[in-house]
């Protein structure tokens, strides 16, 4: 049987041209979809904002120290889960522990939902002192009695 490794003539040209043009059209379609998605969703959980917010105060906390976290968002809510996860990302490699954990660290981060939340009062209620208001209703606290 003779070796058939190539296709020649108009058939080859038609095949190559059609597939190249349609595939490029596909790439254009994908570009449109990606661009549309990118313009609709811009850091929906504000991960980078939280990292920038917490960056200046992290130097005070050793990397091996655990940091506590409290929030007034309903437990189990997606927003609460996301807030805990992106705060953990922002403070890593330090470990973030929730308010309900047995361990009670010295340093705490409190994230409240209301724009005009009284951060100092929220800390006092939990036996903590507000060390710094980090903006956007997020505060750095220190547990009293150490």
């Amino acid at each position: 049987m003779p070796s058939q490794d190539h296709t020649t003539g108009a058939r080859a040209l038609a095949g190559v041209a059609a597939v190249a043009v349609v595939a490029l059209f596909g790439a254009l379609q994908q570009y449109g979809l990606s661009d549309q998605y990118a313009s609709q969703f811009r850091d929906p959980f504000h991960v980078m904002a939280q990292q920038e917010r917490l960056q200046p105060v992290l130097a005070r906390i050793p990397v091996t120290e655990k940091v506590g976290y409290f929030s007034d968002l309903p437990a189990g809510d997606l927003a609460e889960q996301a807030a805990f996860a992106y705060t953990q990302y922002a403070i890593a490699p330090r470990v973030l522990v929730p308010w309900t954990a047995k361990v009670k660290p010295v340093w705490w981060i409190g994230a409240l939902s209301a724009n005009d939340a009284n951060l100092a009062a929220a800390g006092r209620d939990r036996g903590m002192v507000l060390v710094e208001n980090l903006g956007n209703s997020v505060g750095l606290y220190r547990r009293e009695g150490r």
């Binding site: 190539h6 080859a12 190559v16 190249a20 596909g26 994908q30 570009y31 990118a38 991960v47 091996t64």
Partner: protein
């Protein structure tokens, strides 16, 4: 900037390793072979430096010491290997000239434009989402942050603090951590963004150049642009998940194995393919499945020569085996009894068919495009090598079975995992499929008479 420079340094460290393997030796045209060599250095360098730096961190070195020692060791070994084997590539050039096809510029243009669009879309996404998708910041990059300090690295495998996927291999977080250690800015989003960009752009480029060299340039650029019509690649690339690096490692390993077959199962190329497969196994569990499948296929195809493949894989294989054995937390294993649950199998199959349909947009669906290419250009006769197609096809099958027997507590994976898994297999499937297609070739031009007098005398003779 130092973080990005660290990634480029890792790429450069990979180059003498590829060169020493002589995987691209004898390929023509030389400039294209050189580009393929440089592209292969990317997964080798980025993955090998990350794997060794993690192994040294595990052995007790500090994070900066581990990173710098790994880089130094790999650079020295690579250069020594290259020097020792530099004459091994001086064999006679036996590769046939690629078939001449004067319309090659058309798929080349489509591939080039498609690639530019892909990079533009990547940056459009990362401009608004430098943190990547959910699992990037809640798991992969979080673990990378833990790996930047000798006192905290074990947190990357500690599920007690609510860390998701604490049992997943650490190669991708180690790539990112290495960049952060060099750059000195923990959490700098440029590092995972640039690393993701390198791995994701390497996928269509590797497929394109490998096909161009192994078959014909027109087929290479067509394969590349068909790949760029697949949705999962666009959706997953900027997400900063481990699936894109694993997809790149799997593709590179398969390509190098195909290059080894071309040279009668060259041991150098086989060893490099083995190293890449073992690095894939160190990056994700799907990589480990691929490792086993490729090992079996090569034993079947190359017989005793497959020993070189296993030998090359050994250093990274130790890490791939050691991590789940001694380090990773134990999680709920697979439940084989679920195979009796046919309804669950049906759900997996339906989701797979859904993800197959969503692989692209009509009419530019990659499966349709490949089918059209194979129909018009026809399959090679005698048939081309089928074994490269068998490996990713079995990997898809294994993925489906694993989803079927995944415990119901993490049953949500059935709904979300297939899109990510597609990015691991689409390029190897397409690469192996296009290897089987005939190359387009222009008909030879009729020879022009040398001058008019010759033409006249020829006509006279004809009369």
């Amino acid at each position: 900037m130092m973080g990005i420079a660290a990634l480029l340094l890792a790429w450069a460290i990979g180059w003498p390793w590829v060169r020493a393997s002589q995987a691209c030796g004898g390929l023509r045209p030389r400039w294209m072979a050189w580009i393929l060599e440089t592209l292969l250095a990317l997964p080798v360098g980025l993955a090998a430096t990350a794997a060794l730096s993690f192994a040294l961190l595990w052995a007790g070195l500090g994070a900066p010491a581990a990173v710098h020692t790994a880089d130094g060791l790999l650079a020295v070994c690579g250069i020594v290997g290259w020097v020792l084997r530099r004459n091994a590539g001086n064999e006679p050039d036996e590769a046939p000239e690629p078939p001449a096809f004067k319309w090659t510029w058309l798929p080349a243009l489509a591939f080039g434009v498609g690639l530019l669009l892909f990079v533009a879309a990547f940056f459009a996404f990362t401009n608004g989402n430098p943190q990547g998708n959910w699992d990037a910041w809640s798991s992969w990059n979080l673990r990378a942050k833990f790996l930047t300090d000798a006192s905290t690295w074990r947190l990357a495998i500690t599920p007690e603090n609510g860390l998701a996927n604490a049992d997943a291999p650490l190669l991708w977080p180690s790539v990112v951590a290495r960049g952060w250690v060099y750059g000195g800015v923990l959490g700098d989003p440029c590092v995972p963004i640039f690393a993701s960009l390198l791995f994701s752009v390497a996928i269509p480029l590797l497929a394109g150049f490998a096909l161009a060299l192994l078959r014909a340039p027109a087929l290479g650029w067509l394969g590349g642009v068909i790949l760029l019509a697949s949705t999962p690649l666009w959706r997953q690339a900027p997400g900063q998940y481990a699936d894109t690096p694993v997809g790149c490692l799997i593709l590179a390993s398969l390509i190098v194995a195909a290059l080894a077959e071309r040279k009668n199962w060259d041991p150098g190329a086989l060893a490099l393919s083995g190293l890449l497969a073992a690095l894939a196994a160190s990056a994700k569990n799907e990589g480990a499945v691929f490792f086993v499948l490729l090992a079996g296929t090569l034993v079947w195809q190359a017989r005793g020569k497959a020993a070189a493949w296993l030998g090359g894989s050994l250093p990274a294989l130790l890490l791939a085996i050691g991590f789940p054995l001694f380090l990773a937390p134990k999680t709920a294993g697979l439940s084989f009894g679920l195979l009796a649950d046919l309804g669950r199998g049906g759900v997996v199959l339906r989701n797979f068919l859904d993800s197959l349909i969503q692989l692209g947009e009509f009419p530019a669906h990659p499966v349709l495009l490949f089918a059209a290419l194979a129909f018009v250009l026809k399959l090679r006769s005698p048939r081309g090598p089928w074994w490269p197609l068998i490996v990713p096809a079995l990997l898809v099958l294994a993925d489906l079975i694993v989803l079927w027997i995944t415990p119901p507590t993490i049953g949500w994976q059935i709904d979300t995992a297939l899109d990510r898994k597609m990015v691991q297999v689409i390029a190897p499937l397409l690469f192996a499929g296009v290897l089987l297609v005939r190359a387009p070739e222009s008909l030879p031009e009729p020879a022009e008479p040398q001058d008019r007098s010759e033409a006249r005398s020829r006509r006279r003779k004809q009369r």
